[in-house]
C-alpha cells in the first residue's frame, strides 16, 4: 500500500461527504428552474444540515438501541461504499478488498436497518414505510444484481477498478449488453435513491411517501445524519454510473497531473447526470405503488436482456 493511494482514498471520501449536499442542492436548483420557480441557493442543504445538527434529539420512550444506532450505521455504510467506487482513480487501496456485489450488500444493510428503525417506535407510518421499502427492495435488488452481473460479464471482472480499466483499454465499446444494462441501471437508480416516479423526496403526504415514512420519527442530529446519508447515496450512485458506463477521465495512476483532471471530469459528469435526473423527474409522474412491480419488472427485463444479448450477440 503506497502513500499516494491512501491520500487519494481519503480525498475521495472527503469529497463525497463534502460535495454530496451541494449536488442535492444542484438537483433542486435545476428542478426549480425547469418548473419556472426561483430556486434556493446551491448551499441550502448545508444550512439545513447545520440547523438539524444544532437541534436536540427527541426520542420516543420505547425507542430501542436500533433506533439510535441506525443513523450512524447508514452514514457509515454509504461512506464505505464511496471508498470503493473509483471516482478519481482506479488505484484505490480499498478497491481490491471489495467488489460490486459487496456494494449491493452495503446498501442492503443500510436498508435493512432503516426498515427496522422505521418499525422500532411502533407508529403506523413507520411500519407502512418499512413494508413498502422492503417490497421495493425485493424487486429492485435482483434487477440491480442482474445489471451488475451483465457489466461484469462484459468486462470479465466484478471488481469496479478492473471494470473501469477494461473499458479504458477499448475492448468494450458499442456493446448492446452494456446499453441494456445502462437502461436497467437508470431505472434502478431512480428506485434506490427514492426519486420520481418511485418515491418523491419532497413529499410528506401520508399515502405516497416511502422513505420519508420510515424516518418520520427522527429528529436533530439523527435526522441530519440520515438526510446527509441520503444525499451521499444519490452522489454515490451517480458516481457509480459514471464509473461503469462513462469512465473517461478517471486516473489509472495517481500522479499530481491526472488527479486534478479527474476531479474536473468528475464534476462535469456528476453535474450532467443531475441534469438528466431532473429531466426524467419532470417528465414523469409518480406511479401508484402497485404499478412499481411493472416498473421494476422492466428494469429486471432490461438487465436480463442485457445478459442474454451478451451471450447471443457478442
Amino acid at each position: 500500500m503506497n502513500m499516494s493511494g491512501i491520500i487519494i482514498e481519503t480525498l475521495q471520501v472527503v469529497l463525497l461527504i463534502g460535495l454530496a449536499p451541494a449536488f442535492t442542492g444542484w438537483v433542486r436548483m435545476l428542478k426549480c428552474w425547469s418548473q419556472g420557480r426561483t430556486s434556493a441557493s446551491l448551499f441550502q442543504p448545508y444550512r439545513d444540515l447545520a440547523k438539524l445538527f444544532s437541534k436536540d434529539v427527541v426520542l420516543a420512550e420505547n425507542a430501542s438501541w436500533i433506533f439510535r444506532f441506525t443513523p450512524y450505521l447508514i452514514f457509515g455504510t454509504v461512506v464505505l461504499a464511496g471508498g470503493i467506487i473509483p471516482m478519481l482513480s482506479t488505484d484505490l487501496p480499498l478497491s481490491p478488498t471489495a467488489d460490486v456485489i459487496v456494494l449491493v450488500a452495503l446498501f442492503a444493510i443500510a436498508r435493512f436497518f432503516t426498515a427496522l428503525a422505521g418499525m422500532d417506535i411502533g407508529t403506523a407510518f413507520g411500519g407502512m414505510g418499512s413494508s413498502r421499502e422492503m417490497m421495493i427492495a425485493s424487486l429492485a435488488e435482483p434487477a440491480m444484481l442482474m445489471a451488475i452481473f451483465t457489466v461484469s460479464l462484459t468486462n470479465k471482472s466484478t471488481s469496479l477498478a478492473r471494470i473501469v480499466e477494461v473499458i479504458f483499454s477499448g475492448q468494450s465499446v458499442l456493446k448492446p449488453s452494456l446499453a441494456f444494462a445502462f437502461l436497467a441501471f437508470v431505472l434502478i437508480v431512480l428506485t434506490e435513491t427514492g426519486r420520481v416516479p418511485v418515491d418523491n423526496p419532497a413529499t410528506h403526504l401520508e399515502l405516497t411517501m416511502i422513505h420519508e415514512a420510515m424516518i418520520l420519527e427522527y429528529s436533530g442530529r439523527h435526522l441530519a445524519l440520515i438526510e446527509w446519508a441520503a444525499m451521499m447515496k444519490l452522489f454515490v450512485f451517480m458516481a457509480l454510473g459514471a464509473a461503469l458506463f462513462a469512465p473517461w477521465g478517471i486516473a489509472s495512476a495517481n500522479t499530481p497531473q491526472t488527479i486534478p483532471m479527474a476531479f474536473v471530469y468528475l464534476l462535469l459528469k456528476i453535474g450532467a447526470s443531475g441534469v438528466v435526473l431532473v429531466l426524467i423527474e419532470t417528465g414523469l409522474a409518480k406511479m401508484r405503488l402497485f404499478r412499481l412491480t411493472e416498473f421494476l419488472g422492466s428494469a429486471f427485463l432490461m438487465a436480463t436482456l442485457g445478459m442474454l444479448s451478451f451471450f447471443i450477440l457478442e
Binding site: 448492446p176 441494456f180 412491480t293 422492466s298 427485463l301 436482456l305 442474454l308 444479448s309 451471450f311 450477440l313
Partner: protein, 221 residues
C-alpha cells in the same frame, strides 16, 4: 465501413428490435404500440441496408426500401387512420400480469437461442448471431397475439411476427431471393386491406374491437 463495425451495428440494431418487441408485449396504449411498431420497422430497414452494403447484396437495398415504405410508412398510417375512423383512440387494454408475460418472453429468448444453435454453428455470415433474436421476435409476436384480446393489438402482434421473419431471412441468409421478398410484401399488403375491412365488420357487429366478445362458436352450444 469495415466488417467489424458492421457486425457491431448489426447486433446493436438486433438488440433494439428485441427491445421494441418486448415494449410491444407490455404496452397498453394502442398509439404507443403503433409507434413501437414503426420503430421496429425502421431498425429493420436500416439493418437490412447495412447488411446489403457490407455483404454486397444489392437486392437487399430493395428489401430495405420495401420495408421502409411498407412497415414504417404505409402500415402505421393505415392503422392510424383506422383508429381515428373507428374512434378507438383512447381504448386502453387491460393486460394480464405484465411481469409474468415478461418472464415468459425472456424464456422464449433463451429457447430461441438454443433452437438456432445448429444454424449458428454452420453459418459463416457476420449476421449469424442475430438469428436467435429474429426467432425470439417471432415468438414474442406470437405470445402477444395469445395474451392480447384486442383486434388491433392482435394484428400488430401478427405484423411484429412478420418483422421477425423478415429479420430472420436477413440474418440467416442475407435475405431471401427477390421474388420471394416481393411476394411476401404483396401478401402483407393484401392482409392489411383485409384486416382493415375486418375492423369495420367487427366494430359494426360487436360494437367493440375486443375479441373477447367473439365467443359464440364453442364446442358446447
Amino acid at each position: 465501413m469495415d466488417l467489424q463495425t458492421a457486425a457491431q451495428i448489426n447486433s446493436f440494431l438486433a438488440a433494439f428490435v428485441l427491445l421494441t418487441a418486448f415494449g410491444m408485449l407490455v404496452q397498453k396504449r394502442i398509439y404507443s404500440l403503433i409507434h413501437l411498431f414503426t420503430w421496429q420497422g425502421l431498425f429493420l430497414s436500416v439493418n437490412t441496408a447495412i447488411v446489403g452494403y457490407v455483404a454486397g447484396r444489392h437486392h437487399l437495398y430493395i428489401s430495405s426500401i420495401l420495408t421502409l415504405s411498407l412497415k414504417v410508412i404505409l402500415l402505421p398510417y393505415i392503422l392510424h387512420a383506422l383508429i381515428v375512423r373507428l374512434k378507438i383512440r383512447k381504448e386502453v387494454e387491460t393486460v394480464v400480469n405484465i411481469p409474468m408475460t415478461m418472464l415468459i418472453g425472456i424464456a422464449l429468448v433463451i429457447f430461441s437461442y438454443y433452437l438456432t444453435a445448429p444454424v449458428r454453428e454452420i453459418s459463416t455470415l457476420i449476421t449469424r448471431s442475430t438469428l436467435a433474436v429474429a426467432l425470439a421476435t417471432v415468438m414474442i409476436g406470437l405470445l402477444m397475439m395469445i395474451t392480447r384480446k384486442h383486434a388491433v393489438t392482435q394484428i400488430i402482434g401478427f405484423l411484429a411476427m412478420e418483422n421477425g421473419l423478415f429479420f430472420a431471412a436477413t440474418s440467416a441468409t442475407y435475405g431471401m431471393p427477390l421474388v420471394v421478398e416481393l411476394g411476401v410484401a404483396l401478401d402483407i399488403l393484401i392482409a392489411a386491406f383485409i384486416f382493415g375491412i375486418f375492423f369495420f365488420h367487427i366494430h359494426t357487429t360487436f360494437d367493440s374491437l375486443d375479441v373477447e366478445h367473439m365467443a359464440r362458436l364453442k364446442e358446447e352450444d
